[in-house]
Assembly symmetry: C2
Homo-oligomer: 667 residues x 2
């Protein structure tokens, strides 16, 4: 059955490879499994492919197996005859045999391990729980490969389990509302990356997004009409649980409370104010009043209704960025602090948190918050989400609180994937005892939505969150970034077939900008530009309002711009060896950029295009003579001529500048 195999070279048959230098050239698995043993051969995929399920399990495996069959068909075009999995031991002779020991429970620390043995004509997937089996099916889907004439599964032996039990994505649906379908498709993608937590940031200054039936003003006044009904919440939670993913809700208090204050100014710390929903980004004053009973009555109503919607015991109360300005300005609060011997805003916030924690416990919930809540007064049975650095994480772990890392995983800041990938929650030289180290549960990518909308958000989350997923699932010494990028090529396509729009959204923006003309010049520009990093695109949070357009050139650009990355490699190779092949590889890009301005001018000029003309003009002005120089012609070009490329234009930076300079110097 072994066909002419084009995509893989079999290297070895007998060695278990953890951090494989060979195996990870053969297989495109993300996140990389704990143990991988390459096996020669292939397991053909044709219409007779069937799945059989045995053992004791939760029915979610049926949905998982059915979705697997559908994705397999969509990916390959093979007309697989089995459409659904609905019964135990339905196809005893099936090629894929799934065997599960016990029903899984979607909770922290549940067994997600699996083993996968793909040999010729037979695939055996074994797991303790159905959740482990779901993880194994994701791996199996990544083993699909092809020859000219056949699709097949790469043969392999895998034993796999995650390094950390908490691997999540936080989505902010307050700054920009993200409807159910956006949330669901990202939950699908999380499952594909073997992540297991969806952290749902449901309330902030810019909008309250969850229906509380006993407090209708929260959504009526605080949401602009964009919020989730409780039915929708239940639907999303069920959807996640079907995929082995926990859902953690977050209501950010006592700060970040503008939307809440619009609805209930009486519980804010400045009561003589008419609040309006915040339209800008940043840190704002509205803060709940921790000294009055009504605040806790309102919060208890919120928690009482939300608790049953979210089966997971963890409940996130935010707690970040309370600057205490309203507290400082309120005499009653200041008096209260003196009376209760609360020395500063931190102690007052701890007072608030302790009261809140009691309410949460009443409803069976464990409190979780951003690292500001980590104060000496607070009981240790909380989870600290470390975002301002790693210190809070280390200290929490030392002092006995569970903790997760988000510092370094702020994907909204548009930093390169590489930094996220190499950001280990538990570095080798950490100061923790093995017991303390267990308090580090894992981490979460955080997708703050000040500058992201349903159109663009997938492009901000993916593929970088896959790198974070691998960091949290895979062994510490799986850290070859170039190898990850190689494996991501297929993973990106798999995400796209799942419905993630991170590849397709760009042309939507560019077509609009080009008014129906050829978008190729614009595509070429996005491939060398990246949105400004950090908070520089929206300085002070006042450059963009929530309802300003996010269909701009910067929105069409993504981190790790594709041509820029490829060009960097081409230049490095050329500098190392000035041969014809390397010269040619570099010239392909220069040729594209040497006419960028001329190409852009063929479009029908409009104000949006006019604003980005300088990018094309500057790039062309450098690349045209550089190309001439490479062709051995005379060209007037000096090192200082590159300077002009460094200035940001329309919220993007040109990211080929350094490599153009290196190339120039190497000529």
């Amino acid at each position: 059955m072994l066909k002419k195999i084009l995509t893989l070279v079999f290297v070895t048959t007998a060695i278990f490879i953890g951090n494989a230098q060979e195996a990870n050239e053969v297989y495109n698995i993300i996140p990389w499994p704990a143990k991988v043993k390459t096996v020669t051969g292939s397991c053909i995929l044709n219409e007779d492919f069937k799945v059989n399920i045995q053992g004791d399990y939760h029915s979610r495996i049926y949905g998982g197996a059915s979705r697997f069959l559908r994705r397999l068909a969509d990916k390959t075009g093979v007309f697989i005859d089995q459409g659904f999995a609905t019964k135990k031991n339905e196809y005893p002779n099936a090629i894929l045999q799934i065997s599960i020991e016990r029903p899984g429970v979607v909770k922290l620390g549940e067994d997600e391990s699996y083993s996968l043995d793909v040999s010729e004509g037979k695939i055996i997937l074994k797991s303790t729980t159905d959740i482990g089996a779901l993880r194994g099916l994701e791996t199996l889907l990544q083993l699909v490969s092809f020859s000219e004439t056949e699709y097949f599964f790469q043969t392999v032996k895998i034993e796999d389990e995650p390094r950390f039990p908490w691997r999540g994505l936080m989505m902010d649906v307050s700054r920009h509302f993200m409807p159910v379908d956006v949330v669901k498709r990202n939950i699908d993608a999380l499952a594909a990356a073997k992540m297991n937590v969806f952290h749902w940031h449901l309330a902030d200054d810019q909008g309250w997004r969850v229906e509380i039936k006993s407090l209708p003003e929260l959504t009526e006044k605080g949401s602009d009409g964009f919020w989730f009904t409780q039915e929708q919440i239940k639907d999303v939670v069920a959807y996640a649980v079907e995929r082995g993913i926990r859902v953690i809700p977050e209501i950010d208090v006592p700060g970040h409370a503008t939307a809440m204050s619009v609805a209930y100014p009486q519980i804010s710390s400045k009561k003589d104010t008419v609040y309006t929903i915040e339209r800008y980004a940043g840190v704002f004053d509205p803060t709940l009043d921790p000294t009055i009973d009504e605040t806790y009555e309102v919060l208890e109503k919120v928690i009482a209704e939300m608790a049953p919607l979210f089966p997971d015991p963890y409940f996130h109360i935010g707690g970040d960025e309370n600057e205490g300005k309203q507290w400082a300005a309120n005499e009653d609060i200041q008096k209260f602090m003196k009376e209760h011997d609360l020395k500063d805003k931190h102690q007052l916030q701890s007072y608030f948190n302790i009261k809140l924690q009691k309410i949460l416990k009443k409803y069976g919930k464990i409190m979780m918050g951003w690292d500001e809540i980590f104060q000496p007064e607070l009981p240790k049975d909380v989870v600290i989400q470390s975002w301002r650095g790693k210190e809070a994480m280390i200290q929490s772990a030392q002092q006995g609180s569970q903790t997760i890392l988000s510092n370094g995983y702020y994907i909204d800041l548009n930093n390169s994937m590489k930094g996220h990938y190499l950001n280990d929650p538990l570095e080798k030289d950490n100061p923790l005892t093995p017991q303390q180290a267990k308090n580090i549960l894992g981490g979460e990518a955080t997708m703050w939505a000040e500058l992201a909308t349903p159109l663009t958000v997938d492009s901000r989350i993916w593929p970088r969150t896959a790198a974070i997923a691998e960091r949290l699932w895979s062994s510490q010494d799986v850290n070859d970034y170039d190898n990850l990028r190689k494996r991501l090529v297929q993973f990106n396509l798999d995400l796209e077939l799942l419905g993630i729009t991170h590849l397709s959204y760009r042309d939507v923006i560019l077509r609009n900008m080009a008014n129906g003309r050829n978008i190729m010049p614009l595509q070429n520009m996005t491939a060398i530009c990246e949105p400004l990093k950090g908070y520089t695109r929206n300085m002070g949070g006042t450059e963009y309002k929530t309802y300003n357009p996010y269909t701009l050139f910067a929105d069409a650009c993504v981190v790790d711009a594709s041509d820029a990355v490829a060009f960097k490699h081409a230049v490095a190779a050329f500098i190392q060896k000035h041969n014809e092949e390397n010269r040619k590889a570099v010239k392909i890009y220069l040729q594209k950029w040497a006419t960028l301005y001329d190409d852009l001018k063929t479009l029908q000029p409009n104000p949006t295009l006019q604003k980005i003309m300088p990018i094309a003009e500057r790039v062309q002005n450098v690349c045209k003579p550089l190309l001439a120089k490479m062709n051995g012609e005379k060209a007037k070009l000096k090192k200082k001529d590159f300077k002009v490329l460094e200035a940001p234009v329309e919220d993007v930076e040109i990211v080929i500048t350094t490599d153009l300079q290196l190339l120039f110097e190497a000529l």
Copy 2:
């Protein structure tokens, strides 16, 4: 204020133009308004643009105006300062003044008229109802244009109202389930095309898609887990009503009843059978038993729960394609027919329909059905949806039944937009009296989903449904197809910004096929191939199961393939005049196609690509010598060499064949 205007040429200032030969070159409005008067000037759009609303109206105009502001910003990138419309007379000095006489009701025949007066610095939109104002806002959005330095609204005077009161789209969500977001984005698109009916085909052989709480088996057994909760139905209906769109539910009975029979075999006409959900397409035997009370009891439960979910009085009961096989084979039914003097299946079905109509009336509903239900016995207070021809429509109108046209609007069949566009429900030489003609309410595009999935369905609906929308809204003599195509360029982009995936979905499929390689060769192929028309792609309904992949090359192809359409024009121009410009225009395409096979071979071959290689090879084999011949070189090419292009490959046809032949003959 008049800038260097690039997009429009002002022709005249004073003539009201209905079927304008000039105005429709200036404005890109779809559907074309009843009266358009071009006016010189422009109304600048900048951040100060505001909307003010006055009069007496339903609050839906606030949502409509807010969405309008957002779409205006998204389309232009202008940072409009006003984000929402929430109050009466909020901005008395606003540029856009909306004035409404009375609250609209989303019902058949409601006033949708509006007038729009765009002059320098002032826009006046007047309407009887808020629904008319929503229609006017869609027109205004289409008047957005630009110079190099500014966005503006084209100045104009418009008076507008629809020709027909019923302008709809039917979506089949049974053959392939279409989730809420797919439905909602298409409702947005319907509103953009000024359509006003969403007809929701909720049950068929392949799935029962609506929750009936008193009959849980319908969805538990008959849906594969894909169905709408009643909360979701309410949400979608409210969404449509906010956009001035009626929602008509359809439960297809007594035929097309496989899914229903899976759940309730006791009401089918063959009771000793274990039914399973149908996986193929076509006409199937399962049919409800019209002779037993239980059938009507079940149907009454369905109607009792559905009636309050759908505020519109019209309720569609299907009634099509009942071949009566199960009735003929059932002795009890045959006996019943004799006893009740029912001579044939048509009379039995009328017996059924009359009983059903009584139930519907009890719940305040008016019966509607496909044209098979139009039988002498049936009372005339029904709506007949004419799909097998126009005869039923004409006869219904003559005999006093209301009727709509769908024959000629079957967009699932992949026929050219031109045929749909020129298909008039009420042709000039019709046999009806003016009174009878009023029974023709309009028409509906029908999107049957045997071969469409959430990924592909938008590309099957749009843009062709916009042509049908214009046919039903605009004057009969607005029928210049080439002019429609010109106006569609911008409309397609507007649809895309609304979330319609008809332009972006193609590359999703192609990227998957190309495994991350350059998809340009595949794009070039889709631009000259169209999916097989009519029912030939799925002969007998048995080539594709519902769960087979629809991510194939044919799925990436659309009707009116872009390069093929452009090439047809280029060839026609060249044949008319052999000048250098026309020659060059033709050669651009030939050059692309002369290397199609070579280009495709640069991809990594896989079974999917291998199957479409013959297309590229055949096209190249013809176009390469044809190009040589155009270049004055010797080329061996005979008329019969084109023959090979005619054979379908992988469910597509190459649609440049005729024009290649014409070109060859003209050389």
